[in-house]
């Protein structure tokens, strides 16, 4: 027995997970090097759901892109459209009417509610707590119904327009929303009690995947993941957009930095959302829903727009050359920022904790589908753009020299050393 344990310890395995894996519902490839049960190195490879959306925006007009960018993510679709709308309005030098801004914020907070409840179910499922999974998703139906009544769709709401919103909130709907929120508030209080007191569940969350505030800062994590480590990072507070100046929120913080803190932060954020939705419904500014005139061609320039998606900061860069289509739209989604923390936090933990740590950041792979992350041989180094270019040049030079056909031998000799793990030159 003793010797057996000894030999097992000496052996090192690489456990590949994904891109097709029963435990992973979205395509991503992870490689965990394990010694015995302990993870000693981790790497990720993304890009299995690459759809070329950023390039696609360049061949559609400004309004059509609204609908396409909304479909980057099925869960946080409204916030993508909001980020895009705010950026384009900034470029055009216009601002949506206050009522539209308030409705934007309200739909965003409803969306956060549905996203966090979805995540709660997902995380509970990952921890083997199927009852919580079922209950959380049942209650999520309430907010899905509200969103359907408000915008006509359960997902991909299309509530935004350039220069305003499409849908008004009627008095009848407002009372329906209030009712739904009352129910959800009661249920959320119950879930908060469950995740902080159920001893079986706490064994899977307390003290697991601990990320200190310093680590969180260094890894550049965003959203609830950062706030669970005590880092105040919330675009709604730091740089209020839409109606967040009129209807502010207070950031929810936790200091522990473990998985339990992430549960607590997300659930307590729900109360913030309910509160702000109630305030908006009570004091919805009167006026128009949409601007009288929104230009079809947007004047040339560049704009950056940052919003707080349910998972963290969502960043849009939009460049216009004065035509009716954008010149460049760059999207950086929060999951990409948080992915590095998974790789760091899993090292030194048991393999069984890996799914929980991964789900702790609320990963969204379709938001996250970058192209172009290559790995060289056995080491886990990523190739930089310069290095790839050099490889390409060498490849074609070699091919021409050797007479064309079959010239696949790449000579990796005279390359400059490249900095590790640089994720550069990528597209959603």
């Amino acid at each position: 027995m003793h010797t057996n344990e000894h030999t097992q310890k000496a052996e090192t395995f690489i456990v590949p997970i994904g891109p097709q894996h029963p435990a992973l519902r979205e395509p991503g490839h992870f490689e965990f090097t394990i010694e015995g049960e302990i993870v000693t190195a981790a790497s990720v490879r993304l890009g299995y759901a690459h759809r070329g959306i950023e390039k696609g925006t360049e061949s559609r007009n400004w309004v059509q892109n609204l609908y396409m960018l909304e479909r980057i993510c099925g869960i946080c679709s409204h916030i993508h459209a909001t980020a895009y709308c705010l950026g384009v309005e900034q470029l055009a030098g216009v601002e949506a009417p206050p009522r539209a801004q308030a409705i934007r914020e309200m739909v965003a907070e409803l969306e956060r509610t549905h996203s966090h409840l979805l995540w709660l179910g997902e995380a509970a499922h990952e921890a083997g707590f199927e009852t919580l999974f079922m209950y959380a998703w049942r209650d999520r139906e309430t907010v899905m119904d509200i969103l359907e009544a408000l915008t006509g769709n359960r997902v991909n709401y299309s509530a935004n327009l350039l220069g305003g919103v499409k849908y008004d909130v009627t008095g009848e709907q407002a009372s329906k929303i209030e009712q739904g929120l009352d129910y959800l508030e009661e249920r959320t209080r119950h879930y908060l009690d469950v995740v902080t007191s159920d001893p079986v569940f706490i064994q899977r969350t307390r003290g697991i995947g601990v990320m200190t505030a310093v680590q969180a800062d260094r890894l550049g994590v965003v959203g609830p993941t950062a706030r669970a480590s005590g880092v105040v990072r919330d675009v709604r507070v730091e740089a209020p957009y839409a109606a967040y100046t009129a209807f502010p929120i207070t950031p929810v913080l936790a200091q522990a930095g473990d998985l339990e803190a992430r549960f607590v932060v997300r659930l307590r954020e729900l109360f913030e959302s309910y509160g702000v939705i109630r305030r908006i419904l009570a004091n919805l500014p009167p006026g128009e829903l949409v601007l009288k005139r929104m230009p079809r061609r947007i004047k040339a320039g560049e704009a950056i727009s940052r919003v707080e998606a349910p998972r963290g900061e969502l960043f849009y860069f939009i460049r216009s050359n004065g035509s009716d289509t954008p010149d460049r739209v760059k999207v950086r989604t929060p999951t990409l920022c948080n992915m590095a923390s998974v790789l760091t936090l899993t090292v030194g933990r048991h393999l069984a904790d890996v799914p929980m740590i991964l789900v702790g950041i609320d990963p969204c792979f379709s938001c996250n589908d970058r192209g172009l992350v290559l790995k060289r041989g056995a080491d886990h180094e990523h190739w930089t753009w310069d290095r790839l270019r050099q490889i390409g040049l060498d490849y074609y030079a070699g091919e021409r020299g050797s007479g064309g056909v079959g010239g696949t031998s790449i000579s990796p000799a005279p390359l400059p050393p490249c900095p590790p793990a640089l994720l550069t030159g990528m597209h959603v």
Partner: protein
Amino acid sequence: MFGEIVKGLYTTLKHLFQPPVTVQYPEIKRPVRNRFKGRHELKRYENGLEKCIGCALCAAACPADAIFVEASENSDEKRFSPGERYASTYEINMMRCIFCGYCEDACPTQAIVLEKSYELSFYDRASAIYTKEMLIVDVPVNGRSTPQVVEPGIFNRAIPEMEDPK
């Protein structure tokens, strides 16, 4: 620990006696909301004329490139819609459609409306293309079917008088 487990089991036991939340689709269908965006319909005026004038603005607006419109000339002997032209071919590829409702916004005569039907499934790709016959609504009770023979000079305008913006 034991007490906590009993508490958890009591929670699940309570739910055993509550009515199930599952809707037994397809036997029972949950009603959709008013603003729901389902399958498109091409509308008619009360007299039976088609609202669609074949301008193809919906096709131009469509972000998913799902709509194909071909227009032909109207005449008073063979009138489909008010104005000069009507849609002789109107096809929506339901596999491309993203149900965003932008076609509805673009339509100058409110001819295309996203209605409540959501049961769209096909056995092959060809049947995903909904033709004009499948999309257009039935002729209203007081109306006549198209093409109609009409008095000259009444339906010269593509957007009839009563629909003019005030």
